[in-house]
Symmetry: C2
Subunit: 506 residues, 2 copies
């Protein structure tokens, strides 16, 4: 049985390789669209992306894959539960069965629609022009609902969309978790608001682009990001993307009047990239050659960005180098003032620049809006004002325009509405669980960070999380690594400890 | 018949659009490979390119296209000979019948092989490491021969390969033409060698990259290159590439110790791009949406680079701007000295940097080597030394290494051996024929160039050449525009006049 099983497994992997390569080409096409493509290229690019999606979807839903999976069941059952091939079959079946519900025409049309909508958004956001994206967004909402309806029997219409990003999670599990978190964070935010504010205006001096890029890349090189297997380019909204096991790129945006913007976004995206680059080379081009879920992915981006990159020890070590890069701008700033500044807690308008304490409120607002849109409680026309209302309610702020309101994030303009945001907060929670476990087994990690060394941490993450790719589900991985299910306590403990140090006892 | 004909024509164009889009995606994949891709991406990129070629080739050779073409014959015959659809059917039939001879596996394997060989070459050239590319080149030679053998009945083994680039041309037509040209050029080169040499050392001062790029882009913008429909990036060996009718990009390489290198290569590639961008928008995504032949393409790149970009009037106008860009480097150089310098005639080692008089000798050397390799008169092992021997024989120079010898040009390392070079010289010849015709009908063109205005020339080229795409063959186009077949007289007259002005009567 095993020889036959392995033959069929190899056939399955061979078929998957073509899907993987088409996905890599599609990712390249989108990357170029969002980094270098001249405007003239837009319409045909959307058509090309649709064609690639059509070709990939035809292959993903090929009944030959279904037959191979059926043939492979006895083989998979004969193996130890922890065998790679068991996961390979499980993951492949999930992908096959999910894809098979979506008609190819729909998949291609949705890919073309979101590629076109992205182009409209990229031009509309600087002009604060919600009217320009409204029709596209309306269609995205309708198609997102349609997508969910391909999966009948869901408890909530968002569940099938959430499942794509965070398999096994549902509105029923996320909503109470987020509410628990919101109730725990609100008093923290309120207490900190009473404390003397931290000064951070020096972050908004003029920091030339080239030096910002150089410094950020110096840091992620130290984290372990390998520029032989990746690179960084500029875009409208930063992201990580993968064209192949050994070509994992990140993007950033630079604001010369805001030092933190690119710096922390670069660290964030490098965390995603370290995860993908750390997957076992034996999984290259297979269904396991990708992270376990959006949440686990965000746990890594947020870990490198915040737990490492905004830590006291990190800046004790790196501040002299930063000051050498920007001697005039930082002449009057001491390291601890800088450390405080990059951890300043205050309600703000932009999610990607929010501090760690208020960050999840931004996510919870978007998650709620997605549910309301999908449920039909909220229309696209009402969305800009609903956005403002939630910000006033949760953060006490109203954006002066849609540019920093509903047009702020790329997600709804480059993909479905639903399932796009919960991963960030799930990731914050998991990051603290993972990090606490790493620290428990390697107490030297923090001292090493204070010396600009990240190898013990990186190795631990690679061994325990990265190398597995999507062999384990997020829940399995979390249980396996930390011995616990998803729980917010380590995250709250981390926040309380860190911010008590900055703002006094909380 | 016409309604049915149009329906079938639309079906054919619809099928072609998918092939066109796959080709555009493949071009993007190669562009990224040669500009931004980190080394790790290489192997999977080659696999992706092979997959795209496989998918495109399957579609190009689909028997449904053959049936549509058969069905369309009566329709095409019912139309006036100059009707677009007549050309559409003719071009499509040519592409279909050519593709149908090549097995899909072969097409995909060759695409993967050349993509891999390119990566090896890009790393080997700076190291002067011919041994590294030798096995790949050997396989390229074998596959090029095999490719030719798919077209039995050829008079010379190179003919089918030449036909892909320059339809209708053969070794039998090119060899005597090149020999005639060589015999006319040799005494010109010899006479000029007796004249006092032109000084050009100031071209090799330090010219910082950013200013070089800025100046070159200023010039091609003035030519009419539209950065909303294109862009320029850096690569190892400059080229123009097309991802869609409105996304036509160029690449360049910068040498900070050589002002002419990027400057004239940028003008050269912009000429290719102006051609593609000038094709009638009604042909977008159809088989006519590409230039007529390699030769006609080179006629445009060489026209903008040399006839315009190295002309007396051009530099009379542009030199002050160039000097303003590089005030220190050019402080002691007057405009006419600069004009002379960029037209200095002297045997040299690098084709892309050669002057107009010796340039064709570089091409003729390569054309001869290709024939010898294909005929089996020369082995890949003997090639490096044969290269040197031909240079000594024709130009009196021997490169100090293979880097500037056989490793110099990308062509054999990124495509077939055969058909790669003749287009450059055919283009030089045609460029003079086209330009003389343009001047005859618009005598103000030269005065306008002296004012930095290129619209009359650009409009004439667009109206007479560019907009037709591949509606006409090169031969038809030349006859239609100039009223003459291919003839070297205008080219020789152009060279004699121009270089008599610089070196004294020739």
């Amino acid at each position: 049985m095993n020889a036959l099983g392995q033959t069929k497994r190899n056939e399955l992997i061979g078929r998957w390789q073509e899907i993987y390569d088409l996905a890599g080409i599609a990712a390249l096409s989108s990357w170029d669209q969002t980094t270098y493509m001249p405007p003239g290229g837009g319409p045909v690019r959307a058509r090309q992306i649709a064609l690639l999606e059509r070709l990939a979807h035809e292959r993903r839903t090929d009944s030959a894959i279904g037959r191979l999976l059926d043939d492979l069941e006895p083989y998979a059952e004969s193996l130890p539960a922890d065998h790679d091939d068991v996961s390979m079959v499980r993951v492949m079946r999930k992908l096959y069965e999910r894809a098979a519900r979506i008609p190819t025409d729909f998949a291609a049309e949705f890919a073309e629609h979101t590629a076109n909508t992205y182009m409209v958004w990229a031009a509309a956001r600087p002009r604060n022009d919600f009217a320009a994206v409204r029709p596209g967004l309306q269609k995205t909402l309708e198609m997102s609902r349609q997508m969910a309806e391909f999966f009948p029997g869901h408890a909530h219409i968002a569940d099938p969309l959430i499942d794509v990003a965070d398999e096994g999670m549902t509105v029923a599990t996320i909503r109470p978790l987020f509410e628990e978190l919101r109730q725990a964070l609100a008093p923290l935010v309120a207490t900190i608001a009473q404390r003397p504010p931290v000064e951070n205006d020096f972050l908004y001096r003029h920091y030339p682009k080239a030096q910002q890029i150089e410094f950020g890349e110096q840091i992620i090189r130290a984290f372990g990001y390998d520029f032989k297997r990746g690179r960084q380019d500029e875009t409208h909204h930063p992201y990580m993307t993968k064209f192949a096991h050994d070509d994992v790129r990140i993007t950033t945006r630079i604001d010369e009047q805001d030092l933190g913007n690119a710096l922390f976004s670069t660290m964030h995206e490098s965390g995603h990239a370290l995860y993908e680059l750390g997957i076992d080379a034996a999984y290259a081009s297979t269904p396991l050659d990708t992270g376990a879920s959006a949440g686990v992915h965000e746990s890594q981006s947020r870990l490198w960005e915040n737990i490492v990159g905004r830590s006291r020890r990190f800046w004790q070590h790196y501040y002299p180098a930063l000051r050498a890069q920007f001697p005039a701008q930082l002449a009057d700033v001491e390291w601890d003032a800088f450390y405080h500044a990059v951890n300043r807690v205050a309600p703000s308008l932009i999610r990607t620049e929010a501090d760690e304490v208020t960050y999840n409120l931004h996510v919870i607002i978007r998650f709620g809006l997605e549910l309301d849109l999908l449920e039909g409680k909220l229309t696209v026309d009402e969305l800009p004002e609903a956005w403002h209302a939630r910000y006033v309610e949760n953060l006490g702020l109203r954006a002066p325009d849609d540019r920093d309101g509903v047009l702020q994030d790329v997600h709804w303009y480059g993909g479905p509405i639903g399932g796009s945001f919960q991963g960030y907060t799930l990731g914050n929670i998991m990051a603290s669980q993972f990090y606490a476990t790493a620290l428990a087994s390697h107490p030297t990690i923090e001292a090493e960070i204070g010396q600009g060394r990240f190898d013990t941490l990186h190795t631990w993450l690679r061994e325990n999380i990265y190398r597995h790719g999507s062999k384990y589900t997020a829940q399995e991985l979390l249980a396996r690594v930390t011995g616990k299910p998803l729980t917010i306590e380590p995250y709250l403990a981390y926040l309380r400890t860190k911010y008590s140090d900055i703002y006094g006892p909380l």
